[in-house]
């Protein structure tokens, strides 16, 4: 076999896979691994794995404190990484807060708004305070991480949760925008790309409508940042969260972007060491952002490695990554459409979608589909993918999901001659 299904020759594919040590392993009965679960977590290139280890071997020390050389070097590496990741998503370093993952980043915003609603943060934070009569708007496409924190904030503050529905291809119903997002809306939180349907959200009209009515925009960029060029300043969103482990970085680190003036006015979520100025027995003043939102010892080695992952993707070129994955999406969609009894959940054409393809097989539960594919060495995700409402929208409990990602050197490949 000289040409594989994604347009790479066997030799090129071997070179690509060589960057990812894990892809060299085999599964049961010596089968090679076909990893189609990047939507859940991406495999790591060797440079990222090395960076994390190198930090521990060469520079491990507490950051932002200590007067010794190691502490200086560790702090420099940590803050360099912040700059790299910030640059990668088009924002300034002091607008980027480290979080454990996107889930924690979104919770940070929701809990800080809850604190503002309880009067914390003074007059400056009043813009974040919610109460009865205020509305939070999400969409039916949300991962539980961008739904449940808003449900909880609504319960805590008396605000009302509303949502935009999905059309039959899983795209957000923009025709509902003007009726659902109104002058009562204080927050519009939505995903940049669905982790189930793969549909990419047109950010512009949602941001325009939200800002027209004075609402804050919170973007779940977890699925977009690893796969598309993302410039958060250009998108005009107010907050955005993403996870490191989905963009070839380590687990345990992610980031929250907040527009500078908003972060400056936002009260903290987690409190404790490293985020304070003056502490007395009765009260405390807080550091400016981003440190205000980084209580306790941070995931330093992981942040440093995430900086390397951002560089790795930047070197590939996100436009190249997106073009390659667009090609892969087309091939996956073609393949799913060609099998009788297999139904796609999500947009049928590759326009404005990721190479994330969820499907159901008539009469066969997703768990069984996953087991059969696993037996062939193909790793897919099965279940509800932490997005039960999306599945309920389509009247199903579970799907099988194949989600691809680019790997090094794919951009040097040429597409196969296939139409």
């Amino acid at each position: 076999m000289s040409v594989t299904t994604d347009g790479l020759t066997s030799a090129e594919l071997a070179a690509v896979r060589a960057d990812f040590p894990l892809l060299a392993r085999t599964l049961r009965d010596g089968r090679p691994l076909v990893y189609l679960d990047s939507g859940a977590t991406a495999q790591k290139p060797e440079v990222v794995i090395d960076a994390e280890q190198d930090f521990y071997v060469q520079r491990n020390a507490a950051v932002h404190r200590g007067a010794h050389q190691l502490a200086e070097e560790a702090t420099e590496a940590f803050e360099d990484a912040r700059g790299k990741v910030a640059r990668f998503v088009g924002v300034d370093a002091d607008e980027l807060v480290w979080a454990k993952n996107a889930t924690e980043g979104i919770n940070l915003v929701a809990y800080a708004m809850g604190n503002a609603s309880a009067g914390r943060g003074g007059a400056a934070a009043r813009r974040f305070a919610l109460g009865p009569g205020d509305e939070i708007v999400v969409t039916e496409a949300e991962h539980h991480a961008n739904l449940v924190p808003w449900q909880e904030l609504a319960f805590r503050t008396g605000a009302t949760l509303r949502w935009l529905g999905l059309d039959d291809e899983g795209r957000i119903r923009l025709d509902e925008l003007d009726t659902v997002v109104t002058e009562r809306t204080r927050v519009l939180a939505f995903t940049h790309a669905s982790n189930v349907t793969g549909a990419v959200t047109p950010v512009e009209p949602l941001v325009a409508r939200a800002h027209e009515v004075g609402a804050l925009v919170v973007l779940d960029a977890c699925q977009s940042v690893p796969h598309l060029p993302v410039d958060l300043h250009a998108l005009g969103v107010d907050f955005a969260a993403f996870s490191g482990h989905k963009m070839y970085g380590p687990t345990g680190v992610g980031a929250l972007y907040g527009r500078r003036e908003l972060l400056e006015a936002l009260p903290p979520f987690l409190t404790g060491g490293s985020m304070v100025e003056i502490v007395t027995m009765t009260e405390t003043t807080f550091l400016p952002p981003p440190q205000r939102f980084e209580a306790g010892t941070q995931m330093v080695a992981q942040a440093v490695a995430l900086g390397v992952a951002a560089d790795y993707l930047a070197e590939l070129g996100m436009a190249n990554v997106a073009a390659h994955e667009h090609h892969v999406a087309g091939r996956l969609l073609e393949a799913v459409a060609s099998v009788p009894g297999v139904r796609l959940i999500g947009p049928h054409d590759a326009r404005d979608r990721l190479a994330t393809v969820s499907f159901v097989v008539d009469g066969v539960h997703a768990h069984d589909v996953g087991a059969v594919l696993d037996d062939k060495g193909v790793a897919v995700r099965v279940g509800h993918h932490c997005a039960q409402p999306v599945h309920r929208r389509f009247g199903i409990a579970a799907t099988s999901r194949a989600s691809a990602a680019s790997t090094r050197r794919t951009t040097r490949s040429r597409p196969s001659g296939k139409p």
Binding site: R28, D29, V364, H365, A366, H367, D368, A371, V372, D374, D375, V382, G383, H384, Q388, H391, A397, A398
Partner: protein, 168 residues
Amino acid sequence: MSALDQMYQQVILDHAKFPHGRGLPEGDEGATAVAVAPHPGCGISHQVNPTCGDEITLRVDVSRAGGVAVVDDVRWEGQGCSISQASASVLHDLVIGQDLATVDRLSATFHELMSSRGAGLDDEAAEDLLGDAVAFTGSSKFPARIKCALLGWAALSDALILSGAREE
């Protein structure tokens, strides 16, 4: 036989395709764990496997004859993978007509089998007791599937408590 074939043995596929005991009496559909059973000795439990969304609602009817509580009937409705559906079907065949002591022994033995990581039970009498359920030995090799096989049993255990049959 491949690991996959060991999991999807013919007997399991047959039970999944033509499940025994499936279909709740009218009025019990959509029942939850807190549903009021229609009469004493009847318990209804709704169980969900949150990792994959598998669901089962199982109803058990128990009668007491000569001081011994016996399972008269098991009916269930559910959706899920072939392992969870087949396991509920096999459960139905195993427990009907059995007294609660036997049901408990069956449940404990099946749990033991599912913890065996594919090795099965080194005990011929125990495997005889389990009948068709021995076919799930292959599933016990896959940690993600153990909960699928145990879903119906969890519902039965809960339904028996709710039936009141465990009270003297």
